[in-house]
Symmetry: C2
Subunit: 335 residues, 2 copies
């Protein structure tokens, strides 16, 4: 192959908000797959809040990306050549292929996807990690009961919008928190009963207004003020699902914990974290149920597609600035 | 009856640390029990961290004490006269009799106690609310498994010391946090495997040293730095039991939440509050099991008895200053 493999590598560890210099765009030869391996042409790349954590040194739920390595990312691609008995050239697949044009994979953690069922980018959204995160986080950790009030921060995001829709499917009232009118409109279109615009009213006032009976399940993607506002309005035996804290990821000095965490005591409530990878053995079950909901028109998806990996830094910053509408996906190259 | 009923009433709502003026000592006539009621001579009164919360206005798990009312308190006394079919003069009983010499009760929430099994003050400690709190908080919320590392703040206190001992009985490693050498010695005597003296070393260093494998269950009576230190060392699927936050109760401006609460996510851990009253229907079961452990010499108790209700403020401040060794109890009057 004469083509080169364009890659985005981690050049520096960011302090606070990542500068453009944190990433380096470089060309390498297209790698050759060895025994049992396959070469994947990367078509769509997922941009996720969790990426910020992967760039930090130190203990977390997953190894940090090493300096000089290709930035870790979930992606969808097409198998170009295969020495792996489970995959053939022409297969469409999803896996952790990284921010680059070509990846070699041994097939571990790789799943075949079907472009006739849904567009490829959707396998990075509602049919991918964000969908799995919403599904298992809400149903296994939040455990909503029919009639519960489910509050969701980051309601216009890939995870949040799916959480709200699953809550509705399960007979709950779904209230979202999002920033700005356009995002609130998007969340309402997705099915939320009410949405709090934190750019137009204080989240505390909004939660009081939109959840007059209080909150049974709070699904938190954001942290900070949203978490405190939800804790202040918990109902008895409420569940707080810790999925993320995007408001805090770039903080360097003034990290803040929820000052009213003792509301958990007063309300006999629990706050619980989870990592979606722990449910990997059940992804199939979740995907089948969600595909059925999509087929029935009960679960909607929206992706925000941007072009090219060269400005990966800019794409990532869109996410932290809240400029994306729906799941943010990079179209890496033409097929 | 010609005797007067000495009472401690809530005169003002405290802001921050209570001043002496918050309480008023006054004499009232000894009340007459009506139909179905009984008169109880109050002998021992429990002094508890939770009292600070009861003095605040506003929503909590229990109604606040109203201004001018007798300060709420658990107590042990002797029935002097009874129009209640379930209790007779001479019975020893425990209930929420308040900080006063005589109480009228309709018998609700009142339990008979047996002074031949244990001294009366013990029914306010390991055989009373602190014991129930330790038992249900650890076993039902913390759910320790054999071999787990159980970390306990306030380890020399009435609840903490009992938690440590029950953890040992269940085959766990018990590590305590307490302030000062004398309290740490007391906690060790009570059976803790190791104790961190937060006056001699940083709690973070102490937890690292004493729990090298990390923490499976953290039973928190204190909040603040202890909670952050424990969160920083959680093991996978750890449980944080929120029982109290005595370090925070008198705070007025700088309430602090755990800045590293996202450790719950990374470690798939949960933090959960509980209120012991929810387990009232099972107190009997717990008391039987704990009485058996006491009989077998496996569960030890210690009370710190002070005299007279007149300086109730001073006794309460002992608690917040950490000057008590074991369960703090007031001997209200001679029998």
């Amino acid at each position: 192959m004469s083509e080169t493999n364009r890659q985005v590598r981690l050049a520096q560890r960011p302090v606070g908000e990542p500068d453009p210099e944190v990433f380096e765009v470089a060309d390498a030869p297209v790698p050759e797959p060895g025994d049992g391996e396959m070469l994947v042409k990367v078509l769509y790349i997922s941009v996720d809040p969790a990426m910020r954590g992967w760039m930090n040194e130190g203990r977390s739920y997953i190894q940090p990306v090493q300096l000089g390595d290709v930035m870790r990312a979930g992606a969808v691609g097409r198998v170009v050549r295969s020495n792996n008995e489970h995959f053939a050239a022409g297969d469409y697949v999803t896996g952790m292929f990284g921010v680059q044009h070509y990846a070699v994979s041994d097939g571990k953690g790789v799943t075949r996807v079907d472009p006739s069922i849904a567009p490829l980018e959707r396998y990075l959204g509602v049919l991918g990690m964000p969908g799995m995160t919403a599904y298992f986080g809400l149903l296994e950790v939040g455990r909503p009961q029919e009639g519960d009030v489910v509050l969701v921060s980051g309601a216009a995001g890939a995870v949040g919008a799916t959480v709200g829709q699953i809550a509705k499917i399960r007979g709950c009232t779904a209230v979202g928190i999002a920033g700005g009118r356009a995002k609130c409109d998007l969340a309402r279109e997705m099915g939320f009963d009410d949405v709090i615009d934190y750019k137009a009213e204080s989240i505390h006032d909004g939660v009081k207004r939109a959840c007059p009976k209080g909150v049974d399940v709070f699904f938190d993607n954001v942290g900070g003020e949203a978490l405190e506002a939800a804790l202040a309005r918990l109902r008895l035996n409420a569940r707080v699902v810790l999925c993320g804290a995007i408001s805090q990821y770039n903080n360097t000095d003034s990290l803040s914990g929820p000052r009213n965490y003792m509301s958990l005591l007063v309300n006999r409530a629990r706050m619980e974290g989870f990592v979606v990878f722990d449910y990997a053995s059940r992804y199939g079950e979740a995907a089948r149920e969600m595909a059925q909901w999509i087929g029935e028109g009960r679960l909607h998806a929206r992706e925000h597609v941007v072009d090219g990996i060269e400005d990966f830094h800019g794409h990532l910053m869109m996410l932290f600035r809240g400029e994306n509408f729906g799941k943010l996906v990079i179209r890496a190259q033409d097929e």
